[in-house]
Amino acid sequence: MKILVAIKQVIDHHVAIQVKLDNTGVETNNVKMSINPFDEIALEAAIRLQESGIASEVIVVSIGEKPIQTTLRSALAMGADRALLIQTDVETQPLAVAKLLQAVVAQENPQLVLLGKQAIDDDSHQTGQMLAALLNWGQGTNASQIILKDDEVQVTREIDTGLEIISLSLPAVITTDLRLNNPRYIKLPNIMKAKKKPLTILAAEELDVDITPRLQTCKVELPLRRKTGIKVENINELITKLQTEAKVI
């Protein structure tokens, strides 16, 4: 069984985000980038399925400009078999990403597509769902456990009210949540070995997909700084303050 894992390169979660002076976006120049943590979990899940003999091949795909190759190389060093970079300098929004992935699925014929439930930069939380809809495949989002049995996959989902266990027939799209696994660190010799693994670059135009942005970003600003909170003595004081000072009730 082939597994396709979609990964996104995002600003590393340790970096303190700076907004550009002209408010057109966040600063990405000279900023440490890394794989979106949820996608890393998806990749780990795929590698584990391969190690347990269930998957035969793990392919990673990412969309964007050439520097993303670094992140793809890391994914190969983690254990993916080969990588595909769909090169474009267009700002790809969730629908465009889903369409591009749909085209990749048509080429690669994976039985399972794994991706993070959301990317930590725009937090859209849409791509997996859109991809499943475009492919007309079943979807299991926010997975905290994945169990594969023959041509069926059981997904435990983390939802607001607790855990939901669903069963999907393959092929399927699964998006991964934080508690699914703890991704491995890359062993040093594997960085060297990853250099020999195939990394294909494909121009987005070749996939003949409309990736024109549907959304326009007007302005990016830092959220207002929260004022320091205070401690209240009792519930009555809290209610009074909420009524008279915060004026929210």
Binding site: T70, R73, Y185, I186, L188, P189, I191
Partner: protein, 381 residues
């Protein structure tokens, strides 16, 4: 001039930091207190690929170059907190594995390198003796030629890893009349008749790196266990020292960076007299000094490693880097304690341990005074 690291080199460093943050941060206070060798952490480092990093793939290595290896050590020193373990690992890599790789026969390499790299066996390196330290080549340990090999007599002290070693690389005089041109190197397995490891030596810092003595009493070493040709011991020793210095110091640069970050963060959060202590110039000046020391030491070390990587001579540069880095690590460690005040003096804050570990640096692999001698010699004094 290009000061940039390649993407690949940075990915090695990243990976090392990631690993060290997960695996080399816990349990060190206790291991330091009881002077316990962290076998588990050693094994994790072996599995992660540290021990094999610059060694051939056929022996389980990754064939990385010196700059990359040094950068990985920096990452481990920064991400982890166990200076002693890194010291132990470097001792094995540069003073045992590297000589075997450079001077060993194919049989010796095949027999020992894979097991050293996977952590199955641990290696030690004995050169210092009770009466020969800085003047290493005035050693007394002798190796007399006998039928099929050599008979070794003498003792070695300050041997890193000796108490836990399975294999020791020992230097002995094969031709005492030739002085430094009469030394040979031998590989001796623990358990060999006439070879014993005596008491563990307690010490001030680097306490997770066990140190001990080797005693040789009519210890027979077969000819095939001699490392390299007869009487080239001094050359073998000098060759490994250069790698050791670059990489041990790389780990220190990482530790200094971690120490600085810890100190900055404390200076920003600790409040006295109604403001963060970092607002006082007495604190912020110290932090600025620590930063300058870190970056100047880093430049010296990187330049040395770069020269070596290019195959250019770097003996004086190596001596300057070793001297300067170990001295400023000590100075900055004391400043880190001062910034942390009373808390910095407690074991719990893990600031004082760096100070004790740092002091070792001004002594091992040639003391600061010996480094000054080397520098003066190259200046033509």
């Amino acid at each position: 001039m290009d000061f940039a690291w390649s993407e690949e080199q940075l990915s090695y460093k990243e990976s090392a930091i990631h690993f060290a943050q997960q695996e080399l941060r816990e349990g060190i206070i206790e291991d330091d207190l009881y002077e316990k060798f962290p076998k588990e952490r050693w094994q994790k480092c072996a599995e992660f690929g540290v021990l094999g990093l610059p060694f051939p793939e056929k022996y389980g290595g990754a064939e990385a170059d010196l700059l990359t290896t040094m950068l990985v050590m920096e990452g481990l020193g920064y991400g982890g907190k166990d200076n002693g373990l890194l010291f132990s690992i470097n001792a094995q890599m540069w003073a045992v594995q590297h000589p075997i790789q450079e001077f060993g026969t194919i049989e010796q390499q095949e027999k020992y390198l894979p097991d050293l790299i996977t952590g199955k066996i641990i290696g030690a390196h004995g050169i210092s003796e009770p009466v020969s330290g800085s003047d290493a080549y005035s050693m007394h340990t002798s190796a007399k030629k006998c039928d099929g090999g050599y008979l070794l007599n003498g003792s070695k002290t300050f041997v890193t890893n000796a108490p836990i070693a399975d294999l020791s690389l020992v230097f002995a005089m094969t031709a005492p009349e030739k002085g430094s041109w009469g030394i040979s190197a031998f590989l001796i397995e623990t358990g060999t008749a006439g070879f014993s490891l005596s008491k563990k030596i307690d010490k001030m810092g680097l306490r997770t790196a066990p140190m001990g003595e080797i005693i040789l009493q009519d210890c027979f070493v077969p000819e095939e266990n001699r490392l390299g040709a007869e009487n080239i011991g001094a050359h073998i020793f000098n060759n490994s020292m250069e790698w050791e210095r670059a990489c041990i110091l790389g780990a220190h640069i990482g530790a200094m960076e971690r120490q600085l970050e810890t100190s900055v963060s404390y200076a920003r959060t600790r409040k006295q007299f109604k403001q963060p202590i970092g607002k006082f110039q007495s604190i912020s000046n110290r932090l600025a000094e620590m930063k300058i020391r870190l970056e100047t030491a880093r430049l010296l070390l990187y330049k040395t490693a770069w020269l070596k990587n290019e195959g250019k001579p770097a003996k004086m540069e190596a001596a300057m880097a070793k001297l300067y880095l170990s001295e400023v690590f000590t100075a900055s460690s004391l400043d880190a304690i001062r910034i942390h005040g009373g808390y910095g003096y407690t074991s719990e804050f893990e600031v004082e341990r760096d100070m004790r570990d740092a002091i070792g640096g001004v002594l091992y692999s040639g003391t600061s005074d010996i480094q000054r001698n080397i520098i003066a010699r190259y200046l033509g004094v």
